[in-house]
Symmetry: C2
Subunit: 569 residues, 2 copies
């Protein structure tokens, strides 16, 4: 899955860390940040009064846990605060501003592959919002929920099912424990027609650095009846400001939910040769632009699919890297997959889904054979596989159906742990099969956005494949149609974090990929916390405007400051 | 049509005018605005150097024309500037900031019913962007256009047709001469699945008050390949800031276009009795939430439909107002319409449209008889009407088909002047049949947003109907499903601007309606320039945050200042 792990739980993101170089002189004259011990202890004292000692943590075990990251580099916090409600967040923020101590809000801290729970610099105080996990409202008539940052995909999905609401949540591949708010603020995406999470949210409650609390959209108006059904409100639309930014702390979010359709079917097809990608991309663009396919469509290369089922075949390569072509094609053959593997979903009435199937078949006629899979087909196949489990065919069928059904789960709003496995590709030890913990793996995500054209795909692949090879990695790639016109190309640099040399190479590989892609105009849709400062040299005017907004809303620069962020006065 | 005239062409809007009461003391200490003559003449001198005398106008005729409004009150500008490109706008803005002279940008100035081209106060300098009417790019493969503020609906629609691009533009009922950028910045809406214009725009070029020029989204990155296909870019999303605001001047916009579908059909049905509205609203919500209907759906009351075909029947009432019930039902009978009249569109393959038709019939079975009309049916009916034109039936059929086909035009992206006629309802003189000019009419729009529930509709109607009656007006109302969960209830107070008493009553009626709706939590999605300050008392914290942003991006407060906006230093 392209978006395995893209459910960030850091919130808000800290792209504005790159602003410091363009901060106005007034601020730039401040001494570079490293928080004075006195200021920190003074702030900690006041935070204890607000939260109680049990929710102001600085023991080694806690700091170790939050200092861990899937990235080669990570940062260590100075302390961890665990507020239980918006009013506590308000007081915590005001205290941070008073003492000029940087706080770094996280929702669930599962921003795997993009920095996990780590701040951009050492010594920041993590504001852990996981205790704020209330499902504030679910409205079945108007199909929305209002949730706090600590609410996980699994929690809301269970609630919707157990209470027979008839509503589905759009989930990502990041598993049941990832935060919905965190992912939305990172502008993550899922699989259904509600896949663009920001575009399907409605109304935020925001706490500013000085403790100002306000709601966006119509929520700003007391007693407004349409706060969760019409996103724009009246006057300038501010919600976008608080995504991928360090301008405020989002403490509540309205989320639109999808009414269970009459039917849902997955469609899937393979393309044998690498070059076939060209016509596939053109076909998907046509199907999206003509509104035949309304969810995100995922185009995964062979290695992406294989890595979801098994780790790097160290035994077959005698420990050598990167993966030799002959081994790669053998694994591809074994897995019964193509060079590229396409998957998407259809939702609606039986007739409308049948009409969409017909249009897909017609558009791909002679190019690929499309399989359509509904829940019934899956159940049937699974029992067949159980009967044949002693045969090689039965085992492969079972494997295929297992990953097929975990994919199907995503289409019907039920989060699955299956998709977390892929990040252990280069690990030499197997992850916990039941509950894999990516923070023990080695992975860096890089996700440039490209126009949905064959030409752009070819250019990006031609750019990155040699770089992966030069650093002895193999590209695990998915192209996802997140709009009708754009693909997010999610590639992962998977490495064995136990191997020092390989870990170093992974970082070099990432930086080289990043540089080459930026040079060609392929900007990522999100970026790892440790690499945000890399955006600084680009788009200076834009960051300058953003920095004016930062100074207006957080003059002391205490919210998620960046590497070069000036400390507070 | 509910959104007749809702294509604003003011840009940017001036809701921040209400911020002054909450401006930080530093600014509030400024003297209240009324631009010094010296500052103005100094600025005019520099503007002439940049634009040439022919594009710096202050002759009475020009000021009269731009001082005209469909509203009972209007404001008179001090001068008009007509830049031809972004660089001229940059210089004009910088000069305004230097001299502290307020400038008020408009795109085409056709914000009918919401203030036309009028600034919030007298004596502002209108920045008329109508000369900036370049279609910068049309990309047929990726289905988007990049346009300047002066580009009209008619201009782009013609370009797309004449160049056989196979692309459709989502248009509003505001006619061919309205600006696309202006409407998008006002967050207007049309009729197709691309009806939410802001949600289908992608990337802005913005000029700030100090002359800073920058692009939003990926456009901020030089050579970015995805600036027009992926709206969010990286880092905080700023586009929303420049809608319904006075924070910057938008000089370029990316607009997504709809590929011509295999087929397009209009669907329409009537409900005889007023109370039938309840089940209709529930049915529309179901059809939108289940993705059967993807465009906006319009529910017009009898008077809205009648007013599109004829003016107030002064002759039948002996000049009395409001419209007596018996006359109203007679007109309704004559026109062959219901108490409420529903219209929407279906786009797609023949099969998918057939599937949608089936789902609509099934959902409304026993409630209403739904008519489906394609282009062929219309053509057939029109020739039939020509044959029967001497008979009463033929005339009525002709009339019905005329309005039906003008509605159909909107579904296929071709703007029509038909829908401008409704605003002349109370005029005693007939508008120019070929080219009605709303600025000679009397209309105030009020457009509260409500949750798409029968209860909310009933509550709003119960609130406003007595108020209309008390002021001797009759409610012309459309409820439009702009999201799957919300209705915008566009009601118009139409008055005869030649009648002084009636004009005064119209204003009183508007203010009473506004107050009653706000009290019940029904906030408008946009508001007339002359009434924005009414929003001040509500949502103070929100406006306070917005005012911080205003001070950060326009410290001299020269862009579209509001009534109580402090002047510049």
């Amino acid at each position: 899955m392209t978006d395995t792990l893209d459910a960030s739980s850091v919130q808000p993101d800290v792209n504005l860390s790159v602003l410091a170089p363009v901060m106005p002189p007034a601020q730039s004259s401040h001494a570079a940040s490293s928080v004075g011990v006195n200021r920190l202890s003074a702030a900690l004292g006041e935070w204890v009064r607000v939260l109680g000692t049990e929710h102001v943590l600085s023991d080694a075990a806690t700091l170790d846990r939050l200092g861990r990251s899937t990235l080669p580099t990570s940062t260590r916090p100075a302390a961890v605060l665990r507020p239980s409600c918006t009013d506590e967040v308000r007081q915590v923020a005001a205290i941070a501003t008073t003492h000029g101590v940087p706080i770094y809000p996280i929702s669930r801290g599962k921003n795997w592959g993009y920095g996990d729970a780590c701040a951009v610099t050492d010594g920041q105080v993590i504001l852990d919002l996981s205790r704020m996990n209330r499902i504030v409202e679910v409205n079945a008539e108007l199909a929305y929920a209002v949730i706090e940052p600590g609410v996980t995909q699994g929690q809301l999905a269970d609630y919707l099912r157990e209470n027979k609401t008839g509503l589905w949540l759009d989930v990502t591949g990041a598993g049941p424990d990832a935060s919905i708010v965190g992912n939305t603020l990172e502008r993550g995406f899922g699989h259904t027609p509600y896949g663009d999470h920001l575009a399907h949210s409605c109304g935020m409650e925001v706490v500013l650095a000085d403790g100002t609390v306000f709601s966006t959209g119509f929520g700003a108006f007391e007693g407004a009846k349409s706060a969760r059904v019409f996103p724009w409100g009246i006057g300038p639309w501010l919600d976008g400001l608080f995504t991928q930014s360090n301008l405020g702390i989002v403490t509540q979010l309205g989320v639109w939910l999808m009414p269970e359709p009459e039917t849902c079917q997955a469609f899937a097809f393979q393309v044998p040769r690498d070059d076939d990608l060209e016509y596939v991309v053109d076909a998907i663009r046509w199907l999206r632009l003509h509104d035949v396919v309304r969810g995100t469509v995922h185009v995964a290369n062979d290695l992406r699919v294989i890595s979801a089922r098994r780790r790097y075949p160290w035994e077959l390569t005698g420990g050598a890297t990167p993966l030799p072509d002959n081994v790669r094609s053998e694994l591809r053959r074994e897995a019964g997959i193509g060079a590229w593997n396409v998957m998407g979903g259809l939702w609606g009435t039986r007739r409308s889904v049948a009409a969409a199937r017909r249009a897909i078949d017609r558009r791909l006629d002679g190019l690929a054979h499309v399989h359509f899979v509904g829940r019934r087909t899956l159940r049937w196949g699974q029992s067949a596989a159980r009967w044949l489990r002693r045969t090689g065919y039965g085992r492969r069928l079972g494997e295929m159906l297992e990953s097929a059904s975990s994919v199907y789960d995503l289409l019907v709003g039920s989060p699955s742990r299956e998709h977390l496995k892929g990040v252990f590709w280069r690990s030499r030890v197997a992850p916990d099969a039941e509950n894999p913990d990516p923070s023990q793996s080695g992975v860096i995500w890089l996700s440039p956005v490209l126009p949905m054209t064959a030409h752009a795909c070819r250019e990006v692949l031609g750019l990155v494949e040699p770089i992966f090879a030069a650093h002895r990695f193999e590209p695990l790639i998915t192209m996802t149609a997140v709009t009708s016109r754009a693909l997010v190309c999610v590639m992962s640099v998977c490495y064995d974090r136990e191997a020092e040399r390989e870990t170093a190479s992974a970082l070099e590989c990432y930086h080289e990929l990043f540089g080459a892609l930026m040079k060609q105009g392929y900007v990522p849709y999100r970026v790892a916390t440790t690499n945000m400062t890399k955006l600084g040299p680009y788009a200076r005017t834009y960051w300058d405007v953003a920095s004016r907004l930062k100074s207006a809303l957080d003059p002391a620069h205490v919210l998620s400051p960046g590497r070069y962020e000036p400390g507070s006065a």
